[in-house]
């Protein structure tokens, strides 16, 4: 074993996050053999520049041999954790922790800044050829707590409750961390792409912008079509608890994405793949002032406004209507008077009015879509499953609630 100084001292079970907390002691020298690599492995933690004055104080203290609070780590390699019962984890299984150190398969939950300072002090001493000081520094012992058995949700929960980096995360950032695997592996036949905000919409039903999809899902969790960038720590904790609760038996994210794909395909079919023709909008009841919100059914409904509106509407029905029931409803969407193509033109006109009058265009367009979906899937109102009525009423509601009176 390369890490010779590692000494497992005790184990405490954390029932809240279903993990074993293993206290170890390790020399700074051994810790710094793995630290540079595990810093890069933490996709969760944004790198924060420590204040230079504090860094300087900590550097001086470390040189003099101060003790520092334990760094908190977690085992990253999921195969190492297979079959582990966290409640029964004991010192006989300490080799799992040792193996994780050997394989450098750890991530830092708390202690990133301390680790940065230790690395920079090492670099400085090496550069200055201060061998004696370096050996003394390497020989000192620090404590670390290693979590065994934390899933991704648990890691985030612990990071946030430990107030890592003293920063909160937006819910979108939390979602990025939780679902980043999907970004590469996709969901069934759906691939996720990393387009910029202003990139053109990909005109198919199998490629979705990952960020937009996460925004839609976040809207579902928060029951709000507006994505807030700034959250409090308690909001982060509430979101994770909420997700933990909802994710008990099903993979919600996967369900959400597939449901939206179904809606998209259904609307494309029902609108006969409507396409924008400028003559339809010139000198007619559909006259518009700006370029259209979308030039086809797919372009209209693949934009973030629709996804977040859909998410928020589904959030509204959470615990009342299952995804499977919504899926069945999607099959039965129809119109009462006007055909689907006519409704598409109405949608374009209404979105144009919102763009012209609104004080916050994106938010109000999201609100409009939310109203459409909420009306479509609400059995108790006249617009239930009627696309034309839902769109018209959704615009009336949006105009009354969001646009200037005049």
């Amino acid at each position: 074993m390369d890490i010779t100084s590692l000494n497992v001292k005790s184990i405490i079970i954390d029932y809240r996050i279903k993990a074993a907390n293993v206290m170890v002691e390790i020399s700074i020298g051994d810790y710094l053999k793995i630290a540079p690599e595990i810093i890069d492995k933490n996709d969760f933690q944004r790198k924060i520049v420590i204040k230079s004055k504090i860094k300087e104080i900590l550097r001086e203290d470390l040189l003099q041999g101060c003790s520092i609070p334990p760094v908190v780590l977690s085992i990253k390699n999921e195969s190492l954790l297979q079959g582990i019962n966290f409640e029964k984890f004991n010192l006989n299984q300490k080799n799992i922790v040792e193996q994780a150190f050997d394989e450098k398969s750890l991530i830092i939950i708390d202690g990133l800044q301390r680790t940065y300072v230790m690395i920079s002090l090492m670099d400085e001493l090496l550069k200055a050829n201060k061998e004696e000081d370096l050996n003394a520094f390497f020989g000192r012992t620090i404590r670390a707590e290693v979590y065994v058995g934390l899933d991704r949700l648990g890691i985030l929960y612990r990071m946030i409750t430990l107030n890592t980096g003293q920063n909160t995360m937006s819910t979108r950032h939390l979602m990025e961390i939780l679902y980043f695997d999907y970004q590469t592996k996709g969901v069934e036949n759906i691939k996720f792409v990393l387009d910029r905000d202003d990139s053109p919409v990909r005109l198919n039903t199998t490629e979705f912008v990952f960020k937009d999809t996460l925004d839609g899902f976040t809207s579902y969790l928060e029951k709000s079509e507006n994505i807030t960038e700034r959250t409090e720590i308690l909001d982060n904790i509430r979101t994770l608890k909420n997700l933990d609760d909802l994710n008990k038996d099903v993979d919600l994210f996967r369900g959400f994405v597939l449901l939206y794909q179904k809606l998209l395909i259904t609307l494309i079919n029902k609108t006969d793949d409507w396409q924008f023709v400028s003559d339809d909008f010139d000198q007619t009841e559909f006259v518009i002032k700006s370029s259209p919100f979308g030039k086809s059914t797919i372009e209209v409904f693949k934009r973030s406004q629709s996804l977040t509106g859909f998410g928020a509407a589904l959030g509204h029905f959470r615990k009342k209507i299952e995804f499977s029931e919504i899926s069945h409803m999607i099959d039965n969407i129809s119109t009462s008077e006007n055909d689907f193509q006519y409704v598409m033109k109405q949608i374009i006109k209404y979105l144009d009015i919102i763009r012209d009058k609104s004080k916050k265009i994106g938010n109000d367009q999201r609100y409009f879509f939310r109203q459409i979906y909420q009306l479509l899937f609400d059995k108790s109102n006249d617009c239930y499953l009627l696309f034309d009525k839902a769109v018209e009423t959704a615009f009336d509601v949006t105009r009354d609630d969001k646009l200037p009176n005049k």
């Binding site: 924060i48 520049v49 920063n167 905000d197 202003d198 700006s290 609104s358 265009i361 994106g362 200037p404």
Partner: protein, 407 residues
Amino acid sequence: MGLFIPKDIGSEEYDEFILTEFELSEDNFFILSNSNDYDEKVRIKFPFEAKNIASPYTASVYLFDNQYISQNDVIELRISGSQNGNGRIGYIFTLASLIDAANSPFNEHSFSFAYYGFEKLVEGTTSCTPLLPKAKSEEYQLTDFYKDNLSCIVLCNENTQRETDFDFDAYLFNLYQYGFVYINDQQKKLLTNKLVLINDKFDSIKVNSTAGNLSLKIKKTILDLNNESYLGVLIKSLVEEDNHYLTRFHTFYQIIEILIDDVLKNEIKIQIRNISIEMPGFKLKEKVSKIATDGYRINQLLTKYCSINNEFGKSFSEKLKTFFSLIAISTSVEENDENENDNLIELASLIYKLRNNLVHNYRAFFKFSSGENDLQSLLMEILEYFQYLVCEIILTFKIPVVTPPSS
């Protein structure tokens, strides 16, 4: 001046961060550094592509509240009477438009103003104090420091410097008439003037502009703001305050107090100039006594010293008459010969009556408890008219040149 960010999460102590660089990458960021520790940096995303920005110029940014402007509106701002080209000095747009690249309303001319306006906002050098964020983060949004329902006017200093004796404050009264309320403190509760006339004036910008090229030409006060500091205080601070209607009336009536003093001096000057040996002394005394009355001078202010729209005078008078009838106060006015200023003569008399009743007879407002809410809302509406009128007075007040009598 920079932006203030908490030292730690939840801390009430703040570090000042100043703008140090603009980072061009896949996303563009303004980078700010802690003024006490330059290694600590935060960034604010500039959501647009940073291209086609006009060569560096300096900008001044002023923040406003406006109920009628939408995110899609970008208004070119010109000044009346300019000798320099079309008199363009800047642009007006909402802060919401600065954070939503997907719905950008900017064209190749206005985009540079958006960029330089954004820069001033992150520098913290606008007319308005930035908000203090609660969160500690390495990345902030513009909306952590400024409310996105506000609008900004970005002026090009190179253009304004070409104008003779340019003083932006002198244009604020006219901007107010278009619904732009100057904001210097975002925390203050704001009272909005909901007068339909203001909404109409704002809409007239769109009516009088070609599609997609909104343009507003503003005029300045004839009065010199440097000679009367209260004018600046009124339009930049007091006007936005949501206070009791008595205070509000008093705040705006000060302008009438100031100007009728000028009217008094000028009218006396006219009498002295016109004095002749033949004029009996008691006649002169009578004239001067009349001039000395507030009622007469308010009348003169509205009809002779200012250019107030007669129709506006008529509708404002109707409101005042309705109000006085609700509290059973007679509004009969002396019959005069038919005069083109009839509405303004009546308005002057009603404003003076309102002033007298608020000061000497306020108790009368409470005699009729039924419909008290109607009375309150009508009084608020009257104050909205009054504020508009005061702006119009300030914008048009001019002392006529007194010509010596022909010998």
